[in-house]
Symmetry: C2
Subunit: 406 residues, 2 copies
């Protein structure tokens, strides 16, 4: 498996574009991903009861459409809590893309991200779409333009791509994502787009995606707020020419591994670029009784404001870690827990059997001053483990979110 | 029912003291509450799996001791995650108080608050206890000293007291509490102490307290972190001379109402004085199908970092409120929700049937710039309602918690 420089245009037959249409003040605000041939579409979406108009549309298409060929995304306005007018505007956005590309409207996924409660500026969007279509290209630069156009409070765009072989055929998976705030995905993250030229049945593409997010996008959290707009879309257009995957064979397993590499790296980028974040926090809980318990424990640690602020302050305040484990509802023996920290600054055991190990606070602080921190909690109860990713909580998180709309 | 100036020494037969023993750098760090006659003791405690040594001790006493006569509290060190040594030190603290007051050790409750993972400085504590006992007085000033000595990052001490009549007898309830961080109580808050001279059976005192916290201390959150030390203790010494309450009669109901007045006000003070807080946020969810659903919805709103930062920024970003309701697991129709905000700056409808109402952002911002904000969400599903209390999330929250141990 090879990691390559690239994004959503890396697989054969995919084009992309990202432009400034005028929804936001100055930054790019519309993106389009297009497959030159019909593709299978799969998606996982927010479990929030309050679902944005594009999420409702995409859920319908994922169920009913055999072929998907385009995905249009705007940033700046989330088109959530916008009622019937919002649904109508979303349809008009899909329709304008369909008309311009001469596709049925049911072949066009939509996604929106930004402020909740405002209506889409549909006239601006309709004016932007012909321009967007005209810019479509299959270059790396075009993929990067698209990745940039979906950003909100992200500080950098997020792309990842891998290639691998199935038989004699080279298959490519590309991806882009945006995150930053309202990130505590439950079924998918704010917006993630995966393109691939693999030939695979729609059902297996959906299943691979659904299983995948449990271990990747669903394992990150910036602020414990599950968005109204979480959307992860995968498009597979078959142009790699491999034998179409229609059962869970070896090819399927290889595809799932490659997909995991793309999505887990995009997920980590989202966690590391959480609003105001200065550090990526990776937490692994080892030796739990079940995977579900390891997930609960690791997510409880990465979502604790007290853990996050301690990490920001380079403070090895492990009591907050053990406390966060203790209130998440999982039964374990606190007197058996060991806790370690690691970074490129070194590694250290902080806790042995539930009480303070003999360690140097200075060395601990030194380890925590790196940009990527790993916490390992060994609870010695069983054989399951899970890893979750989050970030620290800084002054800038407050600044960004107290002033977001102003 | 009369609200009076006072605290834990207001009921007949209670004395208190608060001193500087040397556990913390400069501030008072030990408190004692003493009943001159044996009292019934009741308590509710953290549901965190990780329970501090004093919590384990108090749970045992609440089950097994018929009479309680003293409660000793230290701040600065939480005596949590301290293993067998922590349990031994806790016992020595109780024993020193018992010896000094000539009581059995089983008559002495303990509580600790502060940093997790450090052992109690037991020699300093043992030296402090004779001094503490010597300072015991039944004055308002003594109660205030005690309330001050249990503070950690609190910015002011929290006391409340009421009197009411049962037959010809005047009954008094006094209380003190501390909060500030790691405040998301589940069964009790960090430390709350209720004294009363009412005559009541131990079982009914326990039941009244348990029912009470569901609506008061369990309805507040500062940071969604359920502490290892949450402790609410009630002592009733019978000195009011009322007919002893041994069944759920009218006297019991009056007592419960008075208790609610004390605990709900202490709980609100804790929320308002949350770490870094500049505002008290009161959220009422109306017209839910069940009380449990109203509780989940209201707590989901007050614990959302995105809601809390918006409130800090005087930003009527109601999409975050509706979003937080949507991910808490309660089924409701987002298209039926109305949301209102109120303060002494006025009142305003922000949302009508799930979409933006016609309101002035300037007026909304004006309302939110007050120190006490009320949010009312009417979901039009049923007849149940619940109120929760929280606070905003400010730069100072990050400052306090990134630098807590340094």
């Amino acid at each position: 498996m090879n990691i390559i420089t690239g994004g959503v245009t890396s697989p054969k037959g995919f084009k992309a574009a990202g432009i400034y249409a005028g929804i936001k003040k100055k930054r790019k605000d519309m993106a389009l991903v297009y497959s030159t041939v019909p593709a299978k579409g799969a998606g996982t979406f927010t479990t929030n009861i309050v679902k944005a108009a594009p999420v409702l549309w995409d859920i319908k298409l994922t169920k009913e459409s055999e072929n998907i060929q385009a995905l249009v995304i705007n940033s700046g306005v989330a088109n959530a809590c916008t009622g019937k007018e919002g649904e109508k505007n979303n349809f008009l956005m899909a329709k304008a893309v369909a008309d311009e590309l001469q596709l049925p409207v049911e072949a066009v996924y939509t996604a929106s991200t930004g402020v909740i409660g405002k209506q889409l500026p549909i006239d601006i969007i309709k004016e932007g779409i012909p321009k967007l279509v005209k810019e479509l290209e299959d270059t790396k630069e075009a993929a990067s333009m698209a990745a940039e156009a979906i950003m909100t409070t992200d500080t950098y765009s997020k792309e990842y791509a891998v290639t691998f072989n199935l038989g004699q055929k080279q298959v490519t998976i590309g991806g882009m994502a945006k995150g930053s705030g309202m990130i505590h995905p439950n079924m998918a993250t704010l917006i993630g787009v995966i393109t691939t030229d693999i030939a695979i049945s729609k059902d297996l593409l959906q299943e691979a995606l659904k299983e995948n997010v449990k271990h990747t996008f669903n394992m990150i959290s910036v602020d414990r707020d599950t968005s109204t707009n979480d959307t992860l879309i995968a498009l597979a257009n078959g142009m790699a020419g491999n034998n179409t995957i229609t059962e869970k064979n070896e090819d399927y397993d290889i595809f799932c591994k490659a997909l995991n590499l793309v999505t887990s790296n995009l997920a980590k980028m989202i966690a590391a670029d959480g609003e105001g974040a200065t550090k990526l926090l990776e937490v692994t809980v080892k030796s739990a009784k079940t995977w579900e318990e390891a997930v609960n424990l690791s997510k409880s640690i990465i979502t604790s404001n007290l853990v996050k602020t301690a990490i920001f302050g380079n403070d090895a305040n492990w009591g907050r870690i053990l406390c966060a484990m203790g209130y998440c509802g999982v039964e374990f023996d606190p007197n058996k827990v060991d806790i370690f920290i690691e970074s490129n600054g070194g590694s250290l055991k902080l806790v042995e059997d539930g009480v303070a190990a003999d360690y140097s606070e200075e060395m601990a602080s030194n380890i925590l001053s790196s940009q990527e921190i790993r916490v390992i909690a060994d609870i010695k109860q069983g054989l399951a483990h899970a890893t979750a990713w989050g970030c620290d909580l800084s002054y800038d998180y407050v600044k960004i979110n107290a002033e977001y709309r102003s």
